[in-house]
C-alpha cells in the first residue's frame, strides 16, 4: 500500500486530510510539526511515497525543512506543499527545491481536497515512473557488465 505522511500543526486539518486520503486507499501517518516530521521521516523504512506538508508551522517556512529532509532521506519521495494566506514566495522556493507541487488552501470555490487527492495520485505516478526508470537503468547496467 502506498504510504503517505501528512504534516500540519492544526488537529482538525490533519484529521480532515488523513480521512480524505485514506478514502483514496493510502496508508496515512501524521505529524504535527516540522520537528516531529523529521523524526518520523528518518525512522521510516521503506520511506514514505508522498509527503503532504503545511508551509507555515513553527516557522513561516517550516514546510521547506520538511521538504529538504524528505528528499534527503529518499530522493524519490514526492512532496506536496500546502500554503495558507498566499505565501507565494515560499511556494516558489519549494518548487525550486524539488517539490512536486504546491496548493493554496483557501482558493474560493475550489474543492481543495479533491484537487489534493488528484495531485497525490499524480505524485505517486511520478514516483513510480521515476523508480521504474532507475530500475531499468540498473538492470541495463547489470546486463552490460555481464
Amino acid at each position: 500500500m502506498s504510504r503517505l505522511l501528512v504534516v500540519d500543526d492544526e488537529d482538525e486539518v490533519r484529521a480532515a486530510l488523513k480521512r480524505r486520503l485514506e478514502r483514496e486507499g493510502y496508508d496515512v501517518t501524521t505529524a504535527s510539526s516540522a520537528g516531529d516530521a523529521v523524526e518520523v521521516i528518518q525512522s521510516q523504512s521503506p520511506s514514505f511515497d508522498v509527503v503532504v506538508t503545511d508551509m507555515s508551522m513553527e516557522e513561516t517556512n517550516s514546510g521547506l525543512k520538511v521538504l529538504q529532509d524528505a528528499i534527503a532521506h529518499d530522493i524519490f519521495t514526492e512532496v506536496i506543499v500546502l500554503t495558507a494566506y498566499g505565501n507565494v514566495a515560499n511556494a516558489v522556493e519549494s518548487m525550486r527545491r524539488g517539490a512536486f507541487d504546491y496548493l493554496e488552501k483557501n482558493v474560493p470555490g475550489v474543492d481543495i481536497y479533491e484537487l489534493l487527492a488528484l495531485k497525490v495520485g499524480q505524485a505517486m505516478e511520478r514516483r513510480r515512473s521515476a523508480i521504474s526508470t532507475v530500475r531499468r537503468l540498473e538492470e541495463y547496467a547489470i546486463r552490460q557488465v555481464q
Binding site: 492544526e10 482538525e12 486539518v13 484529521a15 480532515a16 486530510l17 480521512r19 480524505r20 478514502r23 507555515s56 495558507a84 494566506y85 498566499g86 488552501k105 483557501n106 482558493v107 474560493p108 470555490g109 474543492d111 481543495i112 481536497y113 479533491e114
Partner: protein, 601 residues
C-alpha cells in the same frame, strides 16, 4: 517800595519758574525711562497725569482714553481735588456734537487745544464751577489716531501759555510711547503664547480654538473665525470662532472662491478693507456680526507647505463715531499673517501626526489581519475537509427526500465557505496593496489594460476613453495601479445597470490646474479621471466611501475603494471623489511624477 516788592515778586516767580522747569525735566526723564522699562500701566498713566498737572500749574486734570468701537472717550485717571465718583467714571459720547466738550474736540481733531476764558469758549462744557482756563493735549497712537486726551484746568484766567503747551506735549509723548510699548508687549506675549500652543497641541480643533482666543490679545477685533479647506468638497469649514457663530462650527461656510473669505482661500492673498459690503465679492453669508454692523474686515490665508489650507478672519464693528476710522492697519495685517503662518505650520504638524498615527494603526491592523487571516484560513480549510467528507458520505446514501434536503444544506455551507475564502482574499489584498514594486511605466498603457480586462465587452454602458499625450513615464507599481483602475471601472459599470456612460481620461496637469487643485508646488502631476452617470456619492458619504468595510453594494466587503485609496496613497498620490450627488460619481486620481520640476519649466 512797590518797585522793591515787584522785584521780590519777580525774583520769587523766576525762582518758582526755575524749580518748576527742574521738576518738569526730572518728571519727564523718569517717565521716559519708566515708559521704556515697564510700558503704560495704570500707575504709570497716573504719574504722568500728576506730572502734567504740576508742569502747567493746573488745579486738576484727567486722562481719558478713546474707545473706537463705541465712539466714546472714557476718563481713566484723575488728578487734583474736587473729583466726584461720577466724575472719575465720566464718559463722553463723541457722536453727540453738543456733549463732546473740549476733550471730544481734541480727540477728533488730534490737535491740542487751549482756552483762557472758558465762559466764551464754544466747546467748553462746565463741570467745575471755578474753572477759568483749560488746556487739552492728545496722546497719539502709532497711526496718528488719538489714543487718549490729557485735560487740565485752572481757576486762573489765561493760565496756560506756549511753554505749558510744549511741556504738556512732551509728557503726552511719554504717555504715547508707554501705551505703544504696552500694545507691542501684549502683542508679543500673545504671539509667543500662540507659538507655544501651536507646537504643543496636536488636535486641530482645540488648536484652532486656542489660536482664535489668543489672537484677541494681539489684535483688537469684535470677532475672529478660523476656517479650514475640506479638500474632498472644496469648502471652507468653520473650525473655530468666538462669538455668535459658535453653533456653526463644523459647518461648510463657503465654497472655495465664493465670497471674500472664499476669495482669500482661492488666491492666497490677504484682504483688508473697510465697508466690505461694498465689495463685489461680498456675499454676506456666515458673519459674526450682521452685515450692517461690520465696519472693517481682515482675512488672511493659512498656508501650509505652499498650499492654502484655510483662512483666518477678523472683523470690527462700525464705529459709532463716523470721524473715527475703525479700520485694520497694516500692522494688524502683518500680525494676523504671522499668526496664520504659524497656524499653517501647526496644522501641517497636527495632520502629519494624525497621518502617522493612522499609518501605525494601519500597520498594526495589517499585521493583526495577516495573522488572523492565516488562522481563519486554516480553520476554513479544515471545515472544507469535513464538508468534502460529508458530500462523499451523502453519495453513498440511497436517494430520498431527506437526502436531497441535506445535500442542499451542504451546498449552502459550501457557498458560505467560498464566501469566507473570498473575504480572506480581500483581506490579504488590502494588506499587500501598499507594498509597491515600482518600475517606470506608461500610465496610458496601464489604463488601457485595465479597461480591456475590466470593461465588459457587451454592455449598455458607453465607454469614453480620452488619453492625454505627452505624459512622461511614471515610477509606479503597474499591477497595483491597474488593480485600482479596474476597481473604479467595475464600480462605475456596476452602478449603472440600466446603461450610462463611463468617462476615463488621463492628462498631465498644467501649473494653473495644479494650483486650482491645490497640489504641492514644484512637482508635476498626472490626473486620471473615472466619471460615470450613475447615482453618484451623497455629500455625507464622500469621506466614508474610502473607509475599509464601507459599501453600498451587496457584494464585496467594501474594501474596494479603501484599497484603491491605499494604492494611490502608496504612490504619494491623491484620490478624491468630486462628482455631484445624483449626477454621477467622479473619481480623480493625482499621481506625482518622480521628477521635481525645474524652476524654468
Amino acid at each position: 517800595m512797590s518797585d522793591c516788592e515787584s522785584t521780590t515778586q519777580h525774583a520769587a516767580r523766576a525762582e518758582e519758574h526755575g524749580l518748576r522747569a527742574e521738576q518738569f525735566l526730572r518728571d519727564l526723564n523718569s517717565l521716559f525711562a519708566e515708559a521704556v522699562r515697564t510700558g503704560g500701566d495704570q500707575a504709570f498713566l497716573q504719574r504722568t497725569l500728576d506730572a502734567c498737572v504740576r508742569a502747567v500749574r493746573g488745579r486738576r486734570g484727567f486722562l481719558a482714553l478713546v474707545h473706537y468701537e463705541s465712539g466714546e472717550v472714557e476718563v481713566c485717571n484723575t488728578s487734583g481735588e474736587g473729583w466726584s465718583d461720577l466724575g472719575r467714571k465720566m464718559r463722553l459720547h463723541l457722536a453727540q456734537e453738543t456733549s463732546r466738550g473740549i476733550t471730544g474736540h481734541v480727540a477728533l481733531t488730534t490737535q491740542p487745544y487751549v482756552t483762557g476764558d472758558v465762559d466764551s469758549d464754544p466747546y467748553y462744557l462746565r463741570y467745575f464751577d471755578d474753572v477759568k482756563s483749560e488746556i487739552a493735549m492728545p496722546v497719539l497712537g502709532p497711526n496718528g489716531q488719538t489714543r487718549g486726551i490729557i485735560n487740565i484746568d485752572s481757576e486762573r484766567p489765561n493760565a496756560f501759555d506756549a511753554d505749558d503747551m510744549a511741556h504738556l506735549a512732551a509728557l503726552a509723548q511719554a504717555a504715547a510711547i508707554a501705551l505703544g510699548i504696552e500694545g507691542f508687549r501684549s502683542r508679543e506675549t500673545a504671539l509667543i503664547e500662540i507659538g507655544k500652543t501651536l507646537t504643543t497641541t496636536l488636535d486641530i480643533e482645540s488648536l484652532m480654538n486656542k489660536v482664535v482666543a489668543m489672537t484677541a490679545e494681539a489684535i483688537r477685533f469684535e470677532d475672529c473665525s478660523a476656517f479650514l479647506i475640506d479638500a474632498q468638497t472644496d469648502h471652507l469649514i468653520l473650525k473655530a470662532t468666538r462669538g455668535p457663530l459658535a453653533d456653526k462650527i463644523g459647518a461648510a461656510a463657503y465654497h472655495v472662491g465664493d465670497g471674500i473669505t472664499g476669495w482669500v482661500a482661492k488666491y492666497g492673498e490677504p484682504v483688508r478693507m473697510e465697508d466690505p459690503q461694498s465689495d463685489p465679492r461680498w456675499r454676506g453669508r456666515l458673519n459674526e456680526l450682521t452685515t450692517d454692523e461690520i465696519g472693517a474686515f481682515l482675512a488672511v490665508p493659512i498656508i501650509s507647505r505652499n498650499k492654502i489650507v484655510g483662512v483666518l478672519r477678523v472683523v470690527r464693528r462700525k464705529s459709532h463715531a463716523p470721524w473715527f476710522s475703525n479700520r485694520f492697519t497694516e500692522t494688524d495685517e502683518r500680525v494676523l499673517l504671522t499668526i496664520a503662518s504659524q497656524l499653517g505650520a501647526a496644522v501641517e504638524n497636527a495632520r502629519s501626526h494624525a497621518r502617522l498615527v493612522r499609518s501605525e494603526r494601519m500597520a498594526a491592523w495589517g499585521e493583526l489581519s495577516a495573522r488572523s487571516a492565516h488562522m481563519i484560513g486554516n480553520r476554513t480549510f479544515a471545515l472544507k475537509g469535513d464538508l468534502n467528507e460529508l458530500t462523499y458520505l451523502m453519495g453513498t446514501l440511497a436517494e430520498s427526500e431527506q437526502r436531497r434536503e441535506i445535500i442542499s444544506i451542504v451546498e449552502s455551507m459550501g457557498r458560505g465557505i467560498e464566501r469566507l475564502e473570498e473575504i480572506l482574499r480581500e483581506f490579504r489584498d488590502f494588506v499587500v496593496a501598499t507594498q509597491l514594486h515600482a518600475a517606470e511605466c506608461d500610465i496610458n498603457t496601464i489604463v488601457q489594460e485595465a479597461v480591456e480586462e475590466t470593461f465588459p465587452r457587451r454592455s449598455k454602458v458607453r465607454l469614453k476613453l480620452v488619453l492625454g499625450e505627452g505624459i512622461p513615464l511614471l515610477s509606479c507599481d503597474e499591477k497595483k495601479l491597474k488593480r485600482a483602475f479596474s476597481e473604479l471601472i467595475e464600480n462605475a459599470v456596476s452602478f449603472q445597470p440600466e446603461g450610462g456612460e463611463v468617462r476615463i481620461s488621463s492628462s498631465l496637469l498644467s501649473p494653473e490646474e495644479r494650483a486650482t487643485e491645490r497640489l504641492a508646488h514644484g512637482r508635476e502631476y498626472v490626473q486620471l479621471e473615472f466619471a460615470d452617470k450613475g447615482p453618484g456619492v451623497a455629500g455625507e458619504m464622500k469621506e466614508k466611501i474610502f473607509l475599509p468595510f464601507f459599501t453600498s453594494r451587496v457584494k464585496g466587503m467594501g474594501l474596494g475603494l479603501s484599497i484603491v485609496k491605499g494604492i494611490v496613497e502608496a504612490h504619494q498620490g491623491l484620490l478624491r471623489e468630486t462628482g455631484k450627488p445624483g449626477k454621477g460619481a467622479r473619481f480623480v486620481i493625482f499621481l506625482p511624477l518622480g521628477n521635481q520640476e525645474n524652476g524654468s519649466a
